[in-house]
């Protein structure tokens, strides 16, 4: 009790000091329903943001005199949503190559670092933010090893200002053995093969790629050891980048959807000592026990079609609740850029199909924070955490809800977007 009061008091003092130093004013949202995520819902309470942090949250939190007070009556306050897998900032218009930096040439790009190529002025960022998303994981795509991702806050004018944590993970694609899709290939003369041959080809390709990937990782591990022994070595950016992965210091997000591929990824990670996170995970429910046993978290997109024709129609919707029941850690992600704002509705679909509502919300707040090791700062409304907060007119998972305020690091964010501007410009055109 006393400790908390002292903490609050301390932070209030800090807040005042911060104010003096021309920092944003403290903000208090009063009389609102506060969904802390890390604790029970506060039906009617106050939250105070100051100096970029949450300094108070509770039924009777004290409001500093200098604070700007927002009346939260009838509203709900949430932690800023965290979208655990996107290409936000790396892509503007998918069909315009000049605006897309998601996928480097070649299969092996561990040295590609997403946060150095992010466009802070992307029109997509305010649009995501306006619906309550305040932090995203932005990751490169493609090939076998796509590159390194970072956690980004959706406010800032430079890539450095955006970056919350880099690197967050190394991104890889579990080889499926299938040819990579490419629109132009649809018009080529296809090579005709029997089913059995195609299955064999796929398997052979897959094995070849796995060997390749495995060798890369082991070479990187060996390089690291040589370095450790102070022996001269050639600088190889790719090997350096994989070194942290080989040592288990940097987690690997590996994309795998089919059950066999997920099991293969877990096996591969075990063989090479990797700290594994699965992205995609469409059939994760089929190997939930394995994922639980090996403590492999999953980044799930919910709005997908089931993999197999014979799957139950709602297999992708019930995927999260199946993992939840098995005790597997997971986050719900949009795996997109322009669609990031719809993150809460992916969570809603999981909830409609069996995931408890609080777990669904956690899957887009605290769970991704935990998976990427920033739960001490983000993902919940608790004293000491970063002041990433938004206010909504109701349940954020309800499509009809409006977001009225967004704060990133305690700074109020404009809800103006490209879309609201065009709306205003044309809504009354005769």
């Amino acid at each position: 009790m006393k400790a908390r009061f002292s903490m609050s008091a301390l932070l209030s003092v800090m807040a005042a000091a911060a104010l003096a130093a021309d920092a944003p004013r403290p903000i208090a949202i009063r009389g609102a329903r506060i969904v802390t995520v890390s604790g029970p819902v506060i039906e009617k309470g106050t939250i105070v943001l100051s100096g970029g942090k949450i300094v108070a949250v509770g039924e009777n939190a004290a409001i500093p005199g200098v604070a700007e007070v927002i009346d939260g009556t009838g509203k709900t306050v949430y932690p800023g949503l965290i979208n655990g897998l996107t290409t936000l900032g790396l892509t503007e218009i998918g069909s315009v190559p000049g605006s897309v930096d998601t996928t480097e040439t070649g299969d092996i790009n561990p040295q590609a670092r997403a946060w150095l190529a992010v466009q802070p002025h992307s029109d997509l960022i305010p649009i995501a933010r306006a619906n309550g998303v305040t932090v995203v994981l932005t990751a490169p795509q493609g090939g076998l090893v796509s590159g390194q991702s970072a956690l980004l806050r959706l406010a800032g004018t430079t890539p450095e200002a955006l970056t919350v944590k880099q690197p967050a993970a190394m991104h890889m694609v579990y080889p499926t053995g299938r040819p990579v899709f490419n629109l132009a290939r649809l018009f080529e003369e296809p090579e005709l093969k029997t089913f059995e041959d195609r299955v064999k080809d796929r398997r052979q390709n897959q094995e070849k790629e796995l060997r390749r990937l495995g060798n890369l990782i082991e070479d990187a591990r060996a390089l690291g050891q040589r370095r450790g022994a102070n022996l001269p070595s050639d600088v190889d950016l790719a090997e350096e980048a994989l070194g942290a992965v080989a040592r288990g210091e940097l987690p690997v997000v590996m994309r795998a959807d089919a059950e066999d591929d997920i099991r293969g990824a877990v096996r591969f990670a075990g063989e090479h000592g990797l700290k594994l996170i699965i992205a995609g995970g469409l059939e994760a429910w089929r190997c939930a026990d394995l994922l639980k046993e090996k403590d492999v978290p999953v980044l799930l997109q919910v709005d997908r079609l089931p993999l197999r024709e014979s799957d139950r129609y709602d297999a992708s919707f019930t995927n999260p609740s199946a993992l939840h029941r098995a005790g597997v850690r997971f986050a719900i992600v949009s795996d997109d850029a322009a669609d990031t704002r719809n993150l809460p509705y992916e969570a809603a679909m999981a909830r409609a199909y069996g995931l408890p509502a609080d777990v669904a919300l956690r899957a887009i707040t605290l769970s991704p924070a935990e998976i990427f090791g920033v739960a001490d700062r983000l993902g919940a409304l608790a004293v000491g955490k970063d002041a990433d907060v938004f206010v909504a007119t109701g349940d954020i998972m309800d499509t009809r809800t409006q977001v009225t305020h967004v704060f990133v690091d305690g700074a109020p964010q404009s809800l103006e977007t490209r879309h609201t501007r065009l709306y205003r410009e044309f809504k009354d055109r005769p």
Partner: protein, 421 residues
């Protein structure tokens, strides 16, 4: 053949009473709390709070549930086999989706599970003038010709903008006109000139035949051209035009062209910049079928805003929200809710955008789109309000037959129900 099928269907269907739910009729009766929908012979026989339930009727308890008209997806490529696009010639009005319906596409069932009862299955957007669409009902388990919504007016797909001009892909070894929006207009103009010539040619032939009389020498008829047949029928107002388009200027171009040749565009599809020219669309009398908030994937989709539906609707345009995607088609009820969020469309109007409005756009609003006496019993039953974040579709009926029942779906039902396996 279809008439026989429908007659047999009528004999086969049960009398059903859906009782005790909140009925969102989308019709003049509005919302009815604790109401009953009585279904007989595949049609809605009665709707209200004091509807008598005949003895022997199957009673579906809808207490605590929401009963809405079946959702209609005005832009779909579900259930097509052998290719969605005839992506070779520039004008392919002769090809017919109805020839290639795939009744085994499991997405029909998945969409039933999302409350969809009918869909406008379109040719793709590869050509300025594509092929003939097929309006279908999601009669999972029936043969391909039995999927067709009998009586739905025929239509042809047009496409403007980046796709027909191949901005974003190349076919190796193939150079195809048009490469610009200018060329798209040329193709359309040329096509309708040819259609006018064709029309004249046949009119002249008909005159000659008449003049020759029953015993006279019959001239050889002009070449029957399956492509020009459709274009002529568009000129004669017998065939709808569903035009995929994005940019405001190309929307205006098509309106002017249609006006010049004397035909109407029935719907603009996607029409993501429709909000910029909403009055013009309204004046022409076309409907607009758009995305709730899918945007940004192409240059021409970059000015798309989620307020598109609201702005067009406020200017008097009949607006529907569609999927163009098997995955999105399963959650059109939440897509509709986005019209409430973006632009403040009322919940009733928003629901109309996935029921009665697409029904009108497809020319079947006398038959479906609302829960009104005399209409087909195409109905979806939800566990909560369709816009509620916890809602789920529990049952879907088409022509008064239960094609989806969540309580009875065991995963294998999809196989058993689907097709003659």
């Amino acid at each position: 053949m279809n008439a026989l099928f429908l007659a047999l269907l009528a004999l086969a269907s049960e009398t059903i009473a859906i009782r005790g739910g909140t009925i969102l009729t989308v019709g003049p009766q509005g919302t009815i709390a604790n109401g009953t929908v009585l279904i007989r012979d595949g049609r809605i026989a009665a709707v209200g709070t004091d509807v008598a339930v005949p003895a022997g009727a199957r009673v579906i308890d809808a207490t605590g549930r929401y009963v809405i008209p079946g959702i209609i997806d005005a832009h779909s490529h579900t259930a097509i086999e052998g290719g969605v696009n005839e992506c070779t010639n520039v004008v392919t009005a002769e090809v017919r989706i109805a020839d290639v319906l795939d009744q085994h596409d499991v997405n029909i069932y998945r969409q039933l599970a999302g409350g969809v009862t009918a869909a406008n299955v379109l040719h793709g957007s590869c050509n300025p003038i594509g092929g003939q669409n097929a309006v279908i009902k999601m009669r999972w388990g029936k043969g391909p010709s039995d999927l067709v919504f009998a009586g739905a007016p025929p239509g042809v797909k047009f496409a403007l903008g980046e796709n027909p001009k191949r901005s974003n892909f190349r076919v190796p070894g193939v150079t195809r006109y048009p490469a610009t929006r200018m060329g798209v207009e040329v193709v359309l103009r040329d096509s309708f000139r040819r259609a006018q010539d064709y029309k004249r040619e046949w009119e002249e032939y008909d005159r000659k035949v008449k003049a020759a009389g029953p015993k006279g020498e019959r001239p050889v008829a002009p070449r029957r051209d399956l492509e020009l047949d459709e274009l002529r029928d568009i000129l004669d107002g017998k065939v709808y035009v569903h035009a995929h388009c994005y940019r405001a200027d190309e929307i205006l171009m098509l309106i002017h062209l249609a006006d010049e040749f004397g035909f109407k565009i029935r719907t603009f599809q996607h029409v993501l910049e429709g909000y910029k020219v909403a009055s013009e669309i309204a004046k022409h009398g076309a409907g607009a079928s758009t995305f709730a908030d899918f945007w940004g994937y192409k240059m021409e989709a970059f000015d798309a805003i989620p307020y598109n539906a609201a702005i067009m609707a406020s200017h008097g345009v009949n607006v529907s929200l569609n999927s163009d995607d098997d995955e999105r088609a399963r959650r059109l009820y939440w897509e509709a809710a986005k019209a409430v969020k973006y632009g403040g469309v009322s919940e009733t109007e928003a629901l109309k955008m996935v029921t009665l409005n697409p029904a009108w756009q497809l020319g079947v609003d006398k038959r479906v789109g609302s829960i009104e006496v005399g209409k087909d019993a195409d109905i979806a039953i939800f566990s909560a309000h369709p816009f509620d974040p916890a809602t789920r579709v529990e049952m879907t009926l088409v022509d008064g037959i239960v094609y989806f029942d969540r309580a009875r779906d065991d995963g294998k039902a999809t196989r058993a129900a689907g097709g003659a396996r």
